[in-house]
Amino acid sequence: MRSVRLIARLDIKGPNLIKGIHLEGLRVIGSPGEHALRYYEQGVDELIYMDCVASLYGRNHLAEIVQAAAKDIFVPMTVGGGIRSIDDASEVLRAGADKVAINTAAVANPELITQISRRFGSQCMVLSIEAKQIEHERWEVYVDNGRERTGIDVVDWVRRGVAMGAGEVLLTSVDREGTRKGFDIALLAAVSSEVAVPVIASGGMGKPENLVTAVRAGGVDAVAMADLLHYKRATIGDVRRVAREAGIGVRDYEFA
């Protein structure tokens, strides 16, 4: 049975773990290290670190945060936000990240997708997409953490990004992000039916049950959770139990 990955998403601003709604109105939650360790101990399958202001202000703190995390956390880590070049990618990978997630810089320079995938392998190159619905069954790509529109169609972009070497897609619904209303299932289905690489659903997970629909109807391979975990409304264990009860395969995990 295929195992659905449970991923904790940590949005970072400066040294803090933050959370917004529609990627805006960022509120400080606390220390990224403490939260990440808690999720690791709960048996999270992966972590995603996103610097949500990096693409606006240049340099980010992610390399330091990831380097600190790599001391205690032994699951795969994806890092995104402000990665613009092979050198930027190389820096976070050396700091202990396993994959890089790229949105803004990939839209500005799609060649970067190919360069990173050639240099580090396609498994390392996660195409991060911020999608906003514009009409029925149509979504537009946004950049700069959901602030700027691009006029690009999400389904066209994901097809192109994967053809250029992206090995995975992190698909964030700006409309649902932080709202706890559940995932945008039509968006997930439109993208996951289009590409052969794994798709991570992000934005809107309000309760563990939302995962079931994302997998069954949305066809995704993984779900990213933030709000649900950060505000301690559920643990990874709760989500795993709900998935199992619904007959969805998740990693067998019993903590010693």
Binding site: S3, E41, F120, G167, E168, P198
Partner: protein
Amino acid sequence: MMCVVLRAKLASVCETMNLPEVTVVDYGVGNLLSVRRGLERCGASVVVTSDPDKIYSARKVVLPGVGAFSNGMAELQRTGLDTIVQSLAARGVPLLGICLGMQLLLDESEEFGKTAGLGLVPGRVVPVPALSTGGFPQKVPHIGWSPLALPVKRQSWESSLLQGIKAGEAVYFVHSFMADPFEPKDRLAECFYGGVPVLAALERGNVMGCQFHPEKSGEVGLKILSRFLTI
């Protein structure tokens, strides 16, 4: 809380056993920090080096690596580390290959044409099947957590690298190619991808390897690294 206590206990057990240091071969392929951190967490003193003399005289060696087989092999040959690793294996030094580092232990790979490997484990490296046993297309690379299974001809993992691991415990894989050792006794563990058995770990005397990343496989992975330190 439990795990903090457990880790502290593990670390102290490791210290009292006065473990020899582990040498991680740096041949410019892949992220060595995570491997180092994983081994350190298990109580080892870790040396990451490309210095042939240091590697030659090492008492326990990890050969990590990600990326293409031909590139990895070319780097080992360019630096002369290929013959040094072969000599370590011949002298009985415990050697653990991880991911590409494990694949390099075999005779040859089909990745980008045929490339010769280190020849320490008879067999070859072949693509992960793009079709499941049911004939359906499946995603390659194989990425994610998969449970470890005992190969058909193996009774248990007692006294092996996987001692203490239970079948069904999951570890993290990222790979497009897989090792296929010719001798069934060398096949230590498998996982199933689309119903197809995929080699997860091998062991041939002092030469061991994991296709998965123990340094990214949570507490199960750390248990395997700790076990390697006691071999």
